[in-house]
């Protein structure tokens, strides 16, 4: 008997005996859009996430007011000025254990890209984001989005991303639609998501 791989491929070739003619993919859908920071803020808020907008010189004060007195996870390469006083920082270097993360009060990160149309932030484990688990176990996630990182549409956002990095698209706090098909916030992921839009 042939191995499974050979047999499945042979079955496919046989099934496609009529080899359908090459398909032309119509691409009339919108690749770009007007997407603005206000739209992004509005759409994030629609998911019942909290949104703040600040100028760069207001960031440190805002972080302090949101995180003071708490034990907050920080990716190893968080910008030094975000590491404000009055916060107990749990830096992921050496790597924190799952117990450390589970026992923390929250996590502060940046992001790779954001999407105005859908109110989504995308993490790619790059600068100021760290490993995927850092934004998963803490129950609170504060994410700083720079204005220049906001793409208008889903196609624009994908074009900016590198597919082979580990990616997490986040649209609001953890939720479920499993009870009578209505969205309820707060299951396994962070139950509170706060987004800071940093106007350049």
């Amino acid at each position: 008997m042939a191995d499974a791989r050979t047999e499945v491929l042979a079955r496919i070739r046989k099934a496609l005996g009529d080899r359908p003619s090459p398909v032309v993919v119509p691409r009339e859908y919108h690749r770009t859009g007007p997407g603005s920071l206000d739209l992004f803020a509005e759409r994030v808020a629609d998911y019942r996430a909290t949104v703040h907008q600040v100028a760069p010189d207001g960031l440190v004060d805002l972080i302090t007011s949101l995180l003071a007195g708490r034990r907050i996870v920080a990716p190893a390469d968080l910008p030094p000025d975000w590491l404000v006083d009055q916060v107990t920082w749990l830096t992921d270097s050496p790597p924190l254990t799952v117990e450390d993360l589970d026992g923390s009060d929250g996590v502060l990160t940046g992001c790779a890209v954001a999407i105005a149309d859908t109110g989504t932030i995308v993490l790619d484990a790059g600068v100021a984001q760290g490993r995927r688990v850092l934004t998963l176990l803490p129950d609170y996630h504060l994410c700083v989005v720079r204005a220049s990182q906001v793409a208008a549409t889903v196609p624009e956002a994908l074009a900016r991303l590198d597919a082979v990095r580990p990616l997490t698209f986040i649209s609001g706090p953890s939720a479920t639609s499993d009870i009578e098909l209505s969205r309820v916030e707060g299951v396994h992921g962070p139950r509170t998501l706060e987004v800071v839009i940093l106007r350049d």
């Binding site: 791989r5 047999e7 079955r11 359908p20 398909v23 119509p26 707060g186 299951v187």
Partner: protein
């Protein structure tokens, strides 16, 4: 092969019979009407917001057709890119082979427990039962799957397997089956979600192996994509040391940028959101981040025979959004379990019989008759599967294969009943009447000619006889 395809549940009655029983269950019907009614309205709003929705559907249809027309090429490409990034690719001809591979991989890790993120492919192959038989416990972590698993129940919807349960029923299941259930649990959805969070937390933190499905795989880059809401998916995809993903061979998209179409079509069609809370994308293994061993099991299980049918193959475009279920008048009244398969509703009616691919399987062959051909499913399908066209095609195929047998006449009758709302109403009343005289689905006393027989023993609800009576009354 020779073994039975577990995509249908062993011992399920044919659709008309199962539907008749379900029609009598008013609680089920009211739960379903409420849930599908809500989601229909919300989906329409989410779609109306997109001026280019029809263009996205056209692109989605064409991309999937392109993948299917060159499926061998794209699969080999995917295999190469996944392997290059440190993943291991396995091929499975059928359910039994896929289950065997997964069980072997789990055993090799030394673990006797896996956490699972909801996946239609693993439900289709009966993986949990196969693992259980091999001494491995599978823990479902998706809230709806957990409700089904704890309630010892069967899934009744693609996206929300526990859609037939309302909040107070869910609370009862949790109270009964969760060892660590919080005292004074209310039926507030928020409370129920919190209970599930607490129940699964320790499992996630200690899990060594996870099993997932995949919504999409990008042939060019080897990236696998999972959309979810709760974060249980992220837990499974991030925390364990070993990740095993079981994926139907049709789940491919050619390139990374093609995903831009489906990431817009799927969330709005399924949960009626602009975007679902979490989408994870990973490619092979990333050192220092997530599972360090990744296995991808590519599953045929009837897909290649589906591909061979020029009309029927469009069912393989399906992205499992469940929009067609939510708009289907037949599904809303009969519920998912009547279809006897993990794939219920309009998509189930065309996909299940093709995956089973056995003209002698009467239950599967009855499914294409479970429709009124109203066309609502085609209108909402994000990848434009012409479900009525495939239904008609499969009906003709089944009649050709089996002649005018009593079953095919009965099924034609079912189709006839479903195609008129007033006939439907009458059939429902009749079903309610049948319920009145039965206890636990068994008839204890039959009026008329059946009386002598039933007085000596309980008779199971006689499927054919009463169906014929129903047929006669409605037809005559």
């Amino acid at each position: 092969m020779g073994t039975r395809n577990p995509v249908t549940w062993l011992g399920s009655p044919k659709f008309p019979d199962a539907a008749r029983t379900a029609l009598a269950n008013t609680q089920l019907r009211s739960n379903l009407r409420k849930a599908t009614g809500t989601i229909r309205g919300r989906r329409a709003a989410a779609v109306d917001e997109m001026p280019d929705w029809e263009d996205l559907r056209l692109a989605g249809e064409a991309l999937k057709d392109e993948v299917l027309a060159n499926l061998d090429v794209y699969l080999e490409r995917l295999e190469k890119s996944v392997t290059e990034r440190g993943g291991v690719v396995h091929w499975a001809r059928d359910a039994a082979e896929a289950n065997e591979i997964v069980l072997r991989l789990v055993r090799e890790t030394g673990s006797d427990e896996v956490v699972k993120v909801k996946s239609m492919a693993t439900a289709e192959i009966g993986l949990n039962e196969a693992l259980e038989a091999g001494g491995v416990t599978a823990i479902e972590t998706d809230l709806a799957e957990l409700i089904v698993q704890l309630g010892n129940d069967r899934p009744s919807h693609i996206l929300v397997p526990a859609i037939h349960r309302n909040r107070s029923e869910i609370r009862e299941i949790f109270r009964r089956e969760m060892p660590d259930v919080p005292e004074g649990l209310t039926d507030e959805p928020r409370d129920l979600a919190e209970a599930a969070r607490a129940h699964l937390r320790r499992k996630f933190l200690s899990a060594k192996v996870a099993v997932s499905g995949a919504n999409f795989a990008v042939a060019d880059t080897g990236s696998i994509v999972v959309l979810e809401s709760e974060g249980n998916g992220r837990m499974c995809l991030t925390l364990p040391e070993t990740l095993i993903t079981v994926m139907g061979i049709e789940k491919l998209v050619p390139t990374w940028s093609d995903l831009e179409v489906f990431l817009q079509l799927l969330p709005r069609s399924s949960t009626a959101e602009r975007m679902n809370p979490y989408t994870s994308v990973w490619t092979g293994v990333t050192p220092g981040d997530g599972p360090q061993a990744f296995h991808l099991v590519l599953l045929d299980n009837g897909r290649t025979s589906t591909l061979a049918d020029e009309v029927g193959r469009q069912a393989l475009r399906c992205i499992r959004c469940s929009a067609c279920l939510n708009v289907c008048p037949v599904y809303e009244r009969t519920g998912g379990e009547s279809y006897g398969s993990v794939y219920p509703g309009p998509i189930g009616a065309i996909l299940t019989p093709q995956l089973v691919d056995d003209p002698h399987d009467k239950q599967a062959a009855s499914l294409p008759f479970a429709s009124s051909l109203c066309g609502a499913c085609y209108e909402v399908c994000p990848v434009r599967i012409n479900i009525p066209e495939v239904l008609t095609h499969l009906r003709a195929r089944s009649v050709t294969a089996r002649g005018r047998s009593p079953e095919s006449i009965a099924m034609a009758a079912a189709a006839w009943v479903f195609s008129s709302p007033s006939r439907y109403e009458r059939a429902q009343k009749l079903a309610t009447f049948a319920k009145l005289i039965s206890r636990n689905g068994r008839i204890t006393r039959l009026p008329g000619p059946g009386a002598a027989w039933t007085s000596s023993r309980d008779a199971p609800v006689p499927a054919k006889q009463s169906f014929r009576a129903w047929w006669k009354e409605n037809r005559g």
